[in-house]
Symmetry: D2
Subunit: 403 residues, 4 copies
C-alpha cells in the first residue's frame, strides 16, 4: 500500500499523470493509488469500489484509469423452454439491474410462457455494420465512386476479410448526399458482437476505395452504421441480430396466470405500443423491451450503450379466439459471446448459465442463441407489463361496476 | 451453507419456488441457494457472482431472485472544471464500462477542455413525464375530455401532488388520436429520477379524470411518456433534464492537444454527425454520447435502460477563426441522486466522488449538477472521437502529399 | 398579338428579361409573350396552357413569369353529413386529381358513412407556427435568452400582434441546441392558413429579441416550424389544425356496403397502417390520407407543398362487436379560406360548394369547417381502401375454400 | 344543356346516382349535369370550373364524378444548363403554384446557377416499390417464408414480370414483425412513375407466395412501400428516383448575385436545415424543396400526393474558400413521363417544354431527365431562400453597425 500512496503523491505533485500509473506499478496497485488520490481530492470513501472480484490486469482491455469495480445486483429468471433456430431447451436467464420489480415482472411472464410450453424464437437477419463517409468533389464524382464500388465488391471483400479470421463481408450499400458518399459495410461477425472487427475490416476496404477512386475518407464512421444512436436505419434494416420471439397462450392461461383477458391485453398493446408510439414519433413500439435488453447486457458482458439499438423493438398482440398470440421483434440486437466484456468473471459465469460462453459450433450459433433468449426475456417482460396494465384496468372496471 | 443447500433441494423438489426463498432464509442465504440451484441445473460455476460487496438485504429494493452481483470495471476521468448552473468547480467523473479505450478517449477530451479553462453547462429544461392513455367513445367525447383537463389543471395538480412530498406537477399536455386520449404529465421530481414518483402521482390524477369525465384508463403509460424507447417526443420536447455542455478551444490547443484543426473537426462533425445522421433517419446527431451516458449511469446507479433516451443528443462544432466551438445538447437525460440504484455501495461512492449523493440544496440541484457533469463528459467524448477521426484523415492526407 | 411577339423578340435579343414583361405590357400579353418565347426556344406547343379561365392580372399575387394555366380534372364526392365543431350538415366535397379511381374510392367510403348517419369531426388544436433560429455565444447566453423570452412573452405578443389585424400569438416555445436558440411561435391565424401572417409577426418579435438580448437572428425560419418538411415536431405537437374525424358503422353495413367484416378491416389496419408503418419508420400511420388531402387542397386553393404535413395522419380501426369504429387524426392540416390560392376562380367556386369561402363567423370557423370536412374525406378514403384490401383478401380466402 | 338539366333532375329525384351519369350521356354533358346539381344543392356558381380546356372523355382515366377543371397559374423559370446523367443542355422549367414569390425565388437561384455555368445532376438509385403484408402463424413460419422468398427470387421475378412489358423486378427485401411478413418489391418501371405497374406485378408475385408457402396475403400494400406517407424507409433506401443536383458558385458570384457570402449561406444551412431539422425530428433537411417538387409535379402531371416523399431531401452547403458548393439530394422522387396525368393537355405541353414527354430512349431516360431537372429546380430554390435569409441577416447586421 505504501507504493500506492507514493504513486498518489506523485500524481498530486504533478510528477505523474493519472493514466501513467500502470507503467510504474501492477494494475492492483495502480487502481489503489487512483482511489487514494480521488479520495484525497474529493473526500469520498472508495472502499466498496475497491472490493472488486476480478483481476485488475485482466480488465486492462476493458478500462483505463481503473479505480476498481461497479457492482450491480444480479438475479435470475426462468427456467423457460425456448424453441429457437440456435436455442433449444430450458434456460435460466441472468439479469443485472437496479430497478426493483423488473425480475419479478419478467419472471411472471416467463412462467406464463413456460405453462404454454415455451416460446419460439428466430434470428431473421444478421449483420454488423460500419459506414465510413467519404468526401468527393460533387455528385458527378459521387456517382462514379458508387459505380466503382458496385463493380468491385469482390475486391472490397478481399481487402476487408484480409484483416479477420472469422468475419465475412455480406454487403456494401452506398448512399449519396451531395458531395458525401457513405458506404454501409455489413459483416457476419459470428460469435463476436463485431464492432471492432467491422471497423478494422472496413478501414482496410477504405484504403482500397481511396487508392482506386477520387474519394477521400473523412470518417471511418459516417453515422449510417449507426452505432449507439437511435436511428431508423437500424430499426428498418437491422444491425447485429434481428430477432423475434413469440408465443401463443390459451385463453384460460391468460385469465388464470395473467389475471386478464386476451382482448384487454390486445387493447393495451394497440393503444399504448402501437398508436401511442406512433403519436410519439417513436422507433420503439414496445412497453419496456429495453429493460430486459439492458439487464441481460449487463449480466452477460455486452456493451451497455448498445441498449440504444436494442430498444428498436415492436411488440404485437393478437387475440385469436381461444388464445392470445404475442411477439417481440427486436430489429438491432448487438450481442456477442466472445470479446468485449464477456471474459470478465461474473459475465463469463452468466454466459455459462446460458451455455453460450465463447465461440459456438457452428460459429455464430452462440450469439444467435443469446439473441434468441434475450428476445424471449423481452417477450416475457412485455406480456407481464401489458397484463399488469390490462388487469389493473379490469379491476378498476370491476370496482366501477360495484359502485 | 447447509441451509442454502437445503433450500436449493426444496426448489428442485418443487417444494418451493425460486422467488420464495427470502421468505425462508436471510437474503444472503437465499442468494446462495439460488446460485447452488442454478449451478446444479446448468453446470455453471457462480463463484465470482457470489463475491459481491454489498449487503443482499440492502439490494432487496433493486432486484428479485438475487443470485449475487455483476461486476464491471470502474475508472475515473478528469479532473475538469465545470461552470454550470448547479455544477461549479473541478470534478473527477467515475465511469463503469467494459469497452476498452473509452475512458482514455474521454480523458483526452477532458484534458483539452481543462486546458481551455473548463466547460460551461446548463440544464435548460426539466420534467419527468408519464402519459396515460384513456379510451373514449369517439372524437366528440375526446374533445370534451381534453377541455375538461384544460379547465381542471389545478385539480389534477392537487390530486397528483397529494401523493408526493417533493414532486410538482409542471404541465399536462393532451394528445388525441381517434378514441384514445393521451395526457402527458410532466413533473419536477427534484433530485429523484422520478419515474416512480411521476407514475404514482399520475395514477392519482387518472382517478380524478375517470371520476369526472367519461374517459376510461387503459394504461397508466400510453408510450407518449416515452420511457426507454427511442422517441421523437423526447428528442424534441425533452424528458428528465435537457442539458447542454460547451467549450471554446483555441486553435493552437486543437492543433497541439487534439492533433488536428478546427476545420477538420467541423467537417467530420458535419458529414458524420449532421448529414450522416440525417440520412440515417436518426434522433441522435452525435458520435457516441451514449457511451459516456451509459458508463456514467452504471457508475452512479442510474437506470441503464434509460441510456436509450440519453442518446438523443446533438453535437455541434463551429470553427470560429482562432478557435473551435463545440457543444453537446442532450435532450432527455434522466438522472437522480436519490432512490433507485444510488444507494448501493459502489454507486453511492461514485456519487460522493462527484459530491452529489442524496438530496441537493436547493432540492433538485444535485441531479442538475450530475446532469451537467455527464454532459461535459459526453462533450469530451465527442471532441476526442471527432479529433481522432479528423487527425487520422489528416495524417493520411499528409502521406498523400508525401507520395 | 403583335405586341406579345415583339416582347418575345426583345427577350430573345437580350433586351428584356423574362420577368420584366409585366412592366411593358398587360398581364395577358406578357403571358402570351412568354409562351411564344418558350415555344420558339423549345419547340413545344403551349396552346392548352394558354386557354386558362382566370384573369392573369388577378393571379399576379400567386405567380411570377406566368405563361398561363395548369388544368387538372375536378370532380365531386358526397354528399355526406358532418357533425363537427364548425361543420354541420351535408357537404359535397370537390376534389382535383389526376389519379383515376381516387374519387370513386372516397365516394364509396362516404356512401357508407352516409348510411351510418354521417361522421363526427373536431379540430382539437390550432396553431400556425414559425420558428426563427438565433445565434448566441454559447449555452450560458442561450440560457439567458430563453429566460428573457419566458419572462417577456407579453412584450413578444405585443410586437408580433402589432403586425396583424387578426392573428393572435398563442405560445412561444424555446429550444436550445448548443449556441443556437430556436423560438417556436404559434399563432391563431383564424381563417387564413397563416404562414405569411406568422412570418411577418415573428419577424417583428425577432427584432425585439435582438434588441433586448445578445441573440442574433440567423434565419427567420429555423426548421422547427416545420413548413413543408416531414417532421416529427408537427406530427407530435401539431401545426395548423389538428383534426380528427370518426364514424361508427354497423356490422351489417360493413358487410353489405364494404363487402367485408369489421375484423378483416381491423386486421388490415393493424398489420398495414400500424405495424407496417412502425417498421417503415414512418410518421404516417394511414393508408392514403395524403391522396384526399392533396385533391382537396388542389380544388380549394391550398398550398400543395403542405400536403407533406397533411400526411401526418393516424388511422385507427376498432371492431366493437356489432359495429366498426374508424377514425383518422391528421396532426398538421394547414388550411385557409382566405388568401393564397383561395381567390382564384375555380378554387373560390370549390370553397363555395363547401360554403366556406372567405372569413368565417366567428373568425376561424370557416377554416375549422374546411379542416373537418377534409378529415371526413380522408376517413372515407381510408375506410374504402382498407375495405378493398380486406375484401380482396376475403374473396381469395373464399376461393381457397373452393379449391 | 336540356339533357344535362334532365340528368340533374333525375339525380335529385333519386332516379340516378351521381356517378352513373356517364352511362347516360357523354362526358361533357355528365360533367355539366353534375355542376348543375351541385349548384342547385349548394348555391355555388361553378362557371369557372366549367371552363376547362381538356376533353372530359380524355380525363376519364384520371377522375370520376367529374364536374370540370381546377385551374392553377403556370409560369416558367430558367433557362438553366444541366449536366445530368440523362439531362443535357438548357431547360426552361414550367411550374404551377398559387404561392406568390416562389417562381421569382427559384428563378433567382437558377440565374445564379446559370452564371456558374449550370448545375450537375445524377440519378443515383431507381426503384418503385410495393410491399405487401402476409399473415403467418408465427415466427417459425415467418422464417420459412423468408427463406422460400430468398431462394425463389427468380420465380417471383418471372411471375411479376409476366404482367408488364417494361417493368423489371430489381429486388425483393423481406421484413419480419412477429406473425407478419412484409416483402418490399422494387421495380425499374422505366419512364412510368410505376405505382400501378408495381402493384399489378406484385399482386401476381403474391399469388405465387400464397400458393407455395403458408403465408396469407392481408394487404397488397403493407406500408413498407411506403406510398404517400412520410417514412424513413423512403428517406434512407429511396423510392422512385434518388437524385442529386449540385453546383459550385464563385465567391464573387455569391456576393453579387445573391447579396451575401458563402459563409453566411453555410451558417444558415447548418443552423436551419441541419441542426434545426435534427431538433425537429425531421426527415427533411432542406428549406423548401417540397415547394419546387409540388409546383413541378402540378405542371407536369405527376401525383400531387407524392410530394410527401419528394420532401425527403437533404441540402448541403459548403464554403470552399473561393467558392460555395451547394447540393440537394432528394431520396424519393417519384416521377413519370408516361401514364397518370402526363397525357392531359397542359401537362403534356409542360413535358414538351422540357422535351421529356412520353417514353425515353433508352427507356427510363425521360423520367431520369425529369428527375434531374426538378432536382436542379429544388437546388435553385434552396440557394435562393438561404441567400435571402442570410442576406437579410447581413443587412440587419449592417444596420446594427450603422447605429
Amino acid at each position: 500500500m505504501t507504493d500506492a500512496a507514493d504513486l498518489a503523491d506523485r500524481v498530486q505533485d504533478g510528477d505523474l499523470r493519472l493514466y501513467e500509473l500502470e507503467e510504474h506499478a501492477d494494475h492492483e496497485t495502480a487502481a489503489t493509488a487512483r482511489r487514494l488520490l480521488v479520495e484525497r481530492e474529493t473526500g469520498a470513501d472508495l472502499s466498496a469500489v475497491g472490493q472488486y472480484a476480478f483481476d485488475a490486469a485482466d480488465a486492462d482491455a476493458n478500462i483505463e484509469n481503473a479505480i476498481g469495480g461497479a457492482q450491480l445486483p444480479m438475479g435470475v429468471v426462468g427456467p423457460v423452454e425456448v424453441d429457437g433456430g440456435a436455442a433449444a431447451g430450458e434456460y435460466y436467464l441472468p439479469l443485472a439491474t437496479t430497478e426493483g420489480a423488473l425480475l419479478a415482472s419478467v419472471n411472471r411472464g416467463l412462467s406464463a410462457i413456460r405453462s404454454a410450453g415455451g416460446a419460439q424464437a428466430r434470428v431473421t437477419k444478421n449483420g454488423m455494420t460500419r459506414a465510413p463517409v467519404f468526401r468527393v468533389q460533387g455528385i458527378v464524382e459521387a456517382k462514379a465512386v458508387v459505380e466503382w464500388v458496385e463493380e468491385n465488391v469482390d475486391r472490397l471483400r478481399e481487402a476487408a476479410e484480409s484483416t479477420t479470421n472469422h468475419g465475412e463481408l455480406l454487403d456494401v450499400e452506398p448512399y449519396v448526399v451531395g458531395d458525401s458518399v457513405y458506404l454501409r459495410f455489413a459483416y457476419d461477425t459470428k460469435d463476436a458482437m463485431g464492432m471492432n472487427m467491422a471497423t478494422i475490416a472496413t478501414g482496410e476496404a477504405c484504403e482500397l476505395v481511396e487508392d482506386e477512386t477520387p474519394a477521400d475518407l473523412v470518417a471511418l464512421s459516417g453515422n449510417l452504421c449507426s452505432d449507439k444512436k437511435p436511428a431508423a436505419i437500424n430499426a428498418v434494416q437491422g444491425r447485429g441480430r434481428s430477432v423475434t420471439a413469440d408465443v401463443e397462450l390459451d385463453r384460460e392461461l391468460v385469465e388464470e396466470r395473467l389475471g386478464t383477458t386476451p382482448e384487454a391485453i390486445e387493447e393495451a398493446n394497440t393503444r399504448k405500443n402501437l398508436v401511442g408510439s406512433a403519436k410519439a414519433g417513436s422507433l420503439g413500439f414496445n412497453a419496456h423491451a429495453a429493460n430486459v435488453v439492458a439487464a441481460a447486457f449487463l449480466a452477460t458482458g455486452q456493451d451497455a450503450a448498445q441498449v440504444v439499438e436494442g430498444s428498436n423493438a415492436i411488440t404485437t398482440i393478437e387475440e385469436r379466439g381461444d388464445s392470445l398470440y404475442a411477439s417481440v421483434s427486436i430489429a438491432s440486437l448487438e450481442v456477442g459471446t466472445v470479446g468485449g466484456g464477456t471474459k470478465l468473471p461474473t459475465q463469463a459465469e452468466a454466459l455459462d448459465v446460458l451455455g453460450v460462453r465463447g465461440g459456438g459450433d457452428p460459429a455464430g450459433s452462440n450469439a444467435d442463441e443469446l439473441a434468441e433468449i434475450i428476445a424471449v426475456g423481452a417477450l416475457a417482460g412485455e406480456l407481464s407489463l401489458l397484463a399488469a396494465l390490462a388487469s389493473r384496468h379490469l379491476s378498476s372496471a370491476h370496482e366501477d361496476l360495484g359502485r
